[in-house]
Symmetry: C2
Subunit: 126 residues, 2 copies
């Protein structure tokens, strides 16, 4: 299939697909006229990338998953490198949550300090 069909089937723009190729995440055969040609395995790969991005992974994060799929694994997340990324992302998310909680207290504290009496409600009620 050509790039337009892959884009439709994977739910991304053609621009995104060319970008993924430029970043080395997908590859394409070229037909005689220079058009990119893809097959079913590319649909799988792009779908995997989008799933990961939908939960906050970057393209670089997705790379080990793509490699894992290419090496024949049924799941992109079953290779050691992918598992490492999963763990790293979970740790990263946990840290972000902690940071945000700390930040929330700081903001609330500044607020209370700058404007005593303004913050009369409890969390989430404003």
């Amino acid at each position: 299939m050509r790039i337009g069909e892959l884009a439709r089937r994977a739910g991304v723009s053609t621009r995104a697909l060319r970008y993924y190729e430029q970043r080395g995440l997908i590859r394409a055969r070229r037909s005689a006229n220079g058009y990119r040609e893809y097959d079913e395995s590319d649909v799988r790969i792009v779908t995997e990338i989008r799933e990961l991005m939908s939960v906050g992974f970057t393209l670089e994060d997705a790379r080990p998953f793509v490699d894992c799929l290419r090496s024949g694994h049924a799941s992109g997340g079953s290779c050691p490198e992918s598992v490492a990324v999963y763990r790293r992302k979970l740790a990263e998310i946990d840290r972000q949550i902690r940071d945000l909680l700390a930040r929330r207290s700081e903001v609330a504290a500044q607020f209370a300090d700058a404007c005593p009496g303004c913050l009369l409600t409890r969390r989430g009620e404003t």
Copy 2:
């Protein structure tokens, strides 16, 4: 005082100060040679900006606080516009926290799905 001293006293770069001026957050008199001249109130304003930024406010978020200080208030956060920003930021942070918590479950779920047995009760998921 000139820009270098203001930068030192407020703990920012001169580049940052020129940027704030360009964005209309601070102003400067000019001495005969074209150098920017600041006074104590500018130290206060820049300090306020940095305090707000340190807890995740953008420069635009800081604008009402600056205006509030300029209008003579002792605290930049005591004007209605600043209070509105505080409330908005708190709501924003709460939303981000909720999003991250949801994202964490999704990642953990994907992880568990892609690699059964990899996620060994690290956080009481499932």
